[in-house]
């Protein structure tokens, strides 16, 4: 079970990382806030599994693409707030062009004629 979960996260990581970075462009946010934001901006189409959100956040933090600080939320909760670093901003730009490539790529896969053996 554990192994399967692991590989699923890995497969999505490129995409999820990009979405997280994109979300943080609008300002610092805590984990729950990020999840909410992704859900609402994608008109509920992308249900980000919280199970993969936190690994992604900590991975991005380790890569120094985002930084985190403890803060107090509007209703008095102690929360960990993430914000984009300059490296993260740069990465986001790169990820965007990669995203464009990927869409083309996937389109190409679907449009490839069937090869003769």
């Amino acid at each position: 079970m554990a192994k399967r979960g692991l590989s699923r996260i890995e497969l999505l990581q490129g995409t999820l990382d990009m979405i997280v970075l994109q979300t943080l462009r609008w300002g610092p946010r805590h984990g729950y806030g990020i999840a909410q934001m992704i859900r609402s901006t994608s008109s509920n189409a992308l249900q980000v599994e919280t199970g993969s959100l936190y690994p992604a956040l900590h991975r991005l933090e380790k890569q120094k693409l985002i930084s985190a600080d403890w803060d107090t939320s509007e209703n008095g909760q102690r929360v960990r707030v993430y914000k984009l670093t300059p490296a993260g901003k740069k990465q986001l730009v790169a990820e965007r062009s990669r995203w464009d490539q990927m869409s083309t790529a996937i389109a190409a896969i679907f449009n490839t004629p069937v090869e003769e053996p």
């Binding site: 497969l11 490129g14 199970g51 690994p55 900590h58 909760q77 960990r80 490539q101």
Partner: protein, 865 residues
Amino acid sequence: VSTDRDRDLDDEIAAHLRMAIEERVKRGESRDAAEAAVRREFGNVTHVKEVTREERDGRRLFESTVQVLRHAIRRLRRSPGYSVPVILSLALGIGLNTAVFSMLSNVLLRPLPFPNQSELITAGTRTHAPKDPPGMKDPTWETFGRDLAAWQNSRSLASAGTFSQYDAMIEGPFGPEQLSGAFASPSLLKVLGVQPLRGRWFAGDERGVRYVVIGYDLWKRQYSGDTNVVGRTLHIHGDPWTIIGVMPRGVGLPLDAEFWIPSTEVGGQLVARPKPGLSLAEVAKDLETSGPGLDNMRHAGFTVQVVVVPLHDQLVRSAGPALSLVAIGALLLLLIACANIANLSLARSLEQRRETAVRIALGARRRSLASLILAENLLLAMVGAVAGAVLAIWATRVLVSIAPAEITSVTDIGIDATSVVIAALLAVGTGLIVSLAPILAASHVTVHPALGENPRQGGGRGFRRFRRALVATQLALTLLLLTGTGMLVRSVQRLTRPDHLGFSPHGVTIATLDLFGSRFRVPGARTSFLNALALRAKALPYVTDVGLGPAPLVGGRGEGLREGFNAIAGYRDSATNANVTFWVKDIDPGYLATYKIHLIAGRAFRETDDSLAPQVALLNAAAARMFFGRNNALDQTLPPKVRFVFRDKNHPLVHIVGIVSDVLQRDLAIETVPEIYLPVKQTPESPVVAVAVRSPAPSKDVVAALQQAIREIDPHVAATRLEPMDAVVSASLARHTFLLYLLSVLSGLAIALSVIGLYAVVSYLVSQRTFEFGLRIALGAQQRNIFGLVFKEAALLVGIGLLVGVPAALGLSKFIAAFLYEVKPHDLVTFASVPILLCVVGFAAAFQPARRAVGVDPAKTLRTD
């Protein structure tokens, strides 16, 4: 720190859950329902924490490695067309190299079986004259210990002993055997620092008694390890010897000796331990100035240089260069195999460009792609190494069975821990090397073009150039191996030509007899035995000639005395100021005819050249040139300055009655030495112990007949050598044939690997250009045009290979020069024929792809793509 951070993560997730619940409660859900929904939504909290921690702290190395390896195994099992050839090439490369390097390390690096063996030294003499024939550059080791007492009292040596090889026919309770043995000085064991396993060693008072010490293996074999063996009898050449001791297992000198008898006046090779703090050069200096035994040689016209080397070096010395050459050959083969694997692996990565592109598009990091490739190749290398190790065990056995005695006598050679380490290192090394190319290739994959392109046309110009470079390199390396082998082949051909030998070995059978026992110390006993044998041999059917005298090509390993040479003589040439050694052989009138040695001028010996007639001699061409230059040597007398070293023989007026052609004496590859032939009848107490018989009958029958004759004359006399001369020639060639055999095998494998590499690249090219060929055919191109296109590619690769390989081979050929005889390192025949061979190979490799190209159906090809 880690626990703090864990608590932070707990807090963070707890806050998340609280916020989510609160929000749901705010929307009007009951607290219980909200909590349940949030938990469901979030999933397994513990698992999420675990994964998060892994992401944050990095996954544990072991788990990720296992995962990558699993993936690699899956991929390799899916493509046996790639894995199998790669594993085979690796097994071949690693196996052969492991075998060769095990042998190398065993022979060259394994210490001698004596305590503090690195202190042990030996000494030899050599004359250093500019015009000495190259073969005489080797120092003479065998006789240095003649004045042992003096060496034992020398200022520079702490202890000194001697040994000298003595092979003999022995007979124990389990029957007769021909064995390696040695004369040894009583001091030898003290020098070596070992003790007998049972009984004792010689005390130095063995005059008049026959005491022998036997080796461990002989003790086990002939006496079944009898604990009371001391006092039992061993027959050596028919004489009974009393066993006084048994040596420990694997300990003794020479290393392959199985029995030792005390050396009397014979002496032998010196083994010593220098006094502490003295360098080898200091010891040599002292021995050179203080050694009384050297005075005799100086009086005989030699200038003597003493050479002191570690005993280990001297014992393994001759094996070193040949083994190194084989090792270089094996390494070249490994490189060729590596190029092949890199090529295959590159082709595979080109095929997988689309897969790679998709992986990259989906977020796979290039580093993880690289580690996958690395894992695949290391896995293949490991499997290859295991297969190689199996091959190595077998190859070592074959190597040992064909290796010349100088290699196998040093030690028992097998696959050991060192070999395993070697194989593992080779495997990791090759795995890394062959991974480089595909990793570079993968790191250059850019998503967009790779996905857009047709899979058949993958691979940019860079890849094609790189693959071509690999194949060209392969061909160049193959050329190196082939030229080396080619020159050796030519060299061996030359060595065995009769005009090089100076005699015709075919049809001659020789018998060397052990006539050194006490019964033969009676004057005339030796000669009468030999004459009786010669008479019987002449009476045998189909025997055309019988001759007495030392056989050519024997006596190389200090066996001169045993083979019946009269003496070695010395002479100082006043014109060139060079010191010259020459051989003296006692022969009878039948000798020249038996060996078909060419008489250049004058006459052969006659029966009338006996003790009453004037003293006569024959010279070989080298000696005639040496004594008389361009002047006629016939009817001259032997120059009075010719001195015999080992015998104080006066030769008032020896008339030179004939000149004969040069005959190889010591070794096939060593230049001929000046020789003086004297009639047996004019040499009282001649040491000759050899008879030669020429007969067209099968040598097996002649050997049997001679055996019979010897037994009939005296059943106690053993033949130390009874074999066809052809066998002597091939034994003398052993070092060359060993090299030749190994290099031929390596060359054959190299050609096979190159063909595979070339085939792969050319056939890849054909599949890449199928569309183009189809179009050309559709437009009316002829078959030969298409053939031409394909062969042009092959010709290009072979051409580059030759352009690189020929200069490299010319540059490196000096390394093989030491193994060549009468073949120049820039041998024209070799350097002309090897490129031709490679062109043929190139043509053969390109033929099948070319046929495929011609067979392209334009209608089909053009429609599909």
